[in-house]
Symmetry: C2
Subunit: 417 residues, 2 copies
């Protein structure tokens, strides 16, 4: 027998959650929320709509942990067996709350809907438990506090579950764990090991925890801090973030959910400038990313997709001599593409992209993954050479990120990292 620890066990109920290809997401969300409260998750279970199996899972969970949260199976249909399973697993009788039943009937009457007898099951709960109100649906939740344990059941509808957790469960868990605060710092233009070198000594600050991850747009620093109070945790996080920011300087481009496209759009908009592109290997992916931001017509003009070499000439005005002399994948052609984008699309900035995304087309001299970027601001040209590993999708995605970062640094007036 394991001594129950100050941790949480999560049980998702629903036969549909066991189907192939199905990722259960309620317990993933709950684990994230519980972590913020400083309560680690010691187990996650998915069980079908079977009262005996639910009971077995609940019994095991209350043996193992002091907090148990069950999601799903609280509706009025035949399939909804969580109330029964919960009572069974806790060794309690399932009782009917007559006040709740009357209130339910009343609710249906007020909305002019017929009350089916099956609805009455929603007024049942294990003896000694209380209801949790559901502001978004008819199925109430359940809470039972006994023997140092806190057991919750909430509906599986994500919106209902989330709101009930935040408003009714989280307050009851306050004081159980050590509050945690999190922040993600996003870094462009540096490798993982460069970021590690720059900030590694800050990983050991008391009460904090940090890790480096490779995100979809570059390197991410995931910071966390704990404290005896939310305030202390918040103060520690702010201090850690300030010190990290100083080290990272302009390589730090955003926080949490901020994207590079949004950051660049904001800078262009603030400077009242516009951008246009001439893309070869990315073939529209850079423009599509820039315009994924609502309102991007304020800063994006348009672009040229010059996949074939003759279009580099006819659409972007690259000279055939330049192409012959240096080849399509060269700094010189990238520069000419940037100029072509800026002038032909009448933008403040032009970005040129040319490279080899693979899997074919590489040579010993110009291998798959080689990309040349250029930014023309009307006065000077800013260049960048990328040498990337990975498949076609990755090479294109990283090229888009590097192009956005090149523009970001020009707008900030800082050198490319």
């Amino acid at each position: 027998m394991v001594p129950a620890s100050m941790s949480a066990e999560l049980i998702a109920v629903g036969s549909e959650l066991l189907r192939p290809g199905r990722h259960e997401s309620n317990t993933v969300w709950l684990a994230e929320r519980l972590e913020r409260l400083g309560i680690p998750v010691s187990g996650r279970r998915i069980v079908g709509d079977d009262p005996a199996r639910i009971a077995s899972a609940v019994a095991a969970a209350v043996r193992d942990a002091r907090v148990v949260i069950v999601t799903g199976g609280l509706g009025p249909t035949e399939d909804d067996r969580t109330r029964e399973g919960l009572a069974g697993g806790l060794g309690k009788a399932l009782v009917r709350d007559e006040d709740r039943l009357a209130a339910l009937r009343d609710l249906f009457q007020r909305f002019g809907r017929p009350f089916h007898e099956s609805q009455a099951s929603q007024a049942e709960l294990p003896a000694g438990a209380e209801f949790l109100e559901n502001p978004l649906g008819t199925a109430p939740g359940i809470v039972l506090e006994s023997d140092d344990r806190l057991v919750f059941a909430v509906p599986g509808v994500p919106a209902e579950m989330r709101r009930m957790f935040d408003e009714q469960i989280a307050p009851r868990l306050a004081g159980f764990g050590t509050p945690l605060r999190r922040r993600t710092l996003k870094v462009a233009g540096r490798t993982e090991s460069q970021v590690d070198l720059a900030v590694a000594d800050l990983f050991d600050l008391p009460g904090t925890e940090s890790s480096i991850l490779i995100g979809s747009e570059g390197i991410e620093l995931h910071l966390g801090s704990r404290g005896s109070s939310a305030e202390q945790a918040g103060k520690r996080l702010a201090d850690l973030e300030r010190r990290m920011s100083e080290r990272l300087g302009p390589d730090l481009y955003g926080r949490d959910e901020e994207t590079l496209a949004a950051v660049v759009g904001g800078l262009l908009s603030a400077a009242n400038r516009t951008v246009a592109v001439a893309e070869s290997c990315t073939a529209g992916a850079l423009a599509a990313r820039i315009t994924s931001e609502p309102g991007s017509s304020a800063w994006f003009r348009g672009g040229l997709i010059v996949y074939h070499d003759d279009l580099k000439l006819s659409l972007a005005g690259v000279s055939s001599e330049l192409l012959e002399l240096h080849g399509a994948v060269s700094p010189e052609v990238a520069e000419a593409l940037a100029r072509g984008a800026r002038t032909r699309c009448a933008a403040s900035f032009g970005i040129g992209v040319t490279g080899i995304a693979g899997p074919g087309g590489g040579t010993a001299e110009k291998p798959v993954g080689l990309v040349h970027l250029a930014l023309d601001d009307g006065v000077a040209i800013h260049r960048r050479r990328l040498r990337q590993f990975g498949d076609r999708l990755l090479v294109r995605r990283r090229t888009v990120v590097a192009a956005l970062d090149l523009l970001r640094r020009r707008l900030l007036g800082v050198e490319t990292g």
Copy 2:
């Protein structure tokens, strides 16, 4: 106590799997494989690297189901406690296999690597169990057959787990379930209810099961068939697929993992034709999708991203009269864009896209989600008007799909659905 059913319980072991934001994927993969064998999954559990918790999960699993598969925790480190937990949960002693130990020592010696005492744990297993060979790593798996139950443990490294399942576990499960075969049919240019209407009566064919889903590129029909043998299941599936295909006709564009971009690329390539685009609201997303296919330089020429109206004139040759008369979002401008794409990029086909992706820019007459597409094949113009609901991302994504489908139908010589 639940009577053990002909189902499988899956247990993923690893404290890291309980971290917030982490989707555990081994049991999702296993559920899909087990379904093909006709064995339903009755429960999935994730537990940390704690032998007592692993034992408790295993004990519950063998109570509930006849097949139990545990993944992870079989390596040589301190954290790897699955062997211990498995023995505990099955009520067996953990014993050391001296032959296996000698073989392990031998293996390390042959590869010139030092043998640490911790490695010896990999020669341990519950009494009565046998090892499963791991062709991709050093940690062997374990299988124990007793009391009508089959309990397996395999490493958590996905490649090792998958190969061991396919080669060593699946054969042992043959005959346990009713074999299932699956196929996905992909449909473009019809709504969910149109597809439903066309094929609904085929949903009831004996031994088959089908469902309609909305996929990322359109409607998907997920077909399944069961049989007493894999052959019978396969025959039923082939028959169902043939009948569905007859009903769907040219609206059926692909199967399983096929994408619309790959299908269109194949058709263009076979016909030795090329395409170019002029995109307004999708701003490069169509071109990026077409060129996501390796080898697309054989059929994609290039394109014009004409986000601002003046570029529709200067880059694509749309006349200012046309723009003034009909507005940028109109069939006429889509047609002029298609022609501009074809002629200026010297392609066999030109596709023009203009619309309102939102969230801003809509009017009562031309609301957010209105998109006009045109395809110019050099002889005739093929048009399509879309009226979509959803956010910016969805409107753009569906527009890309509709544009690819317009070209696909032209290449097949069939009318737009």
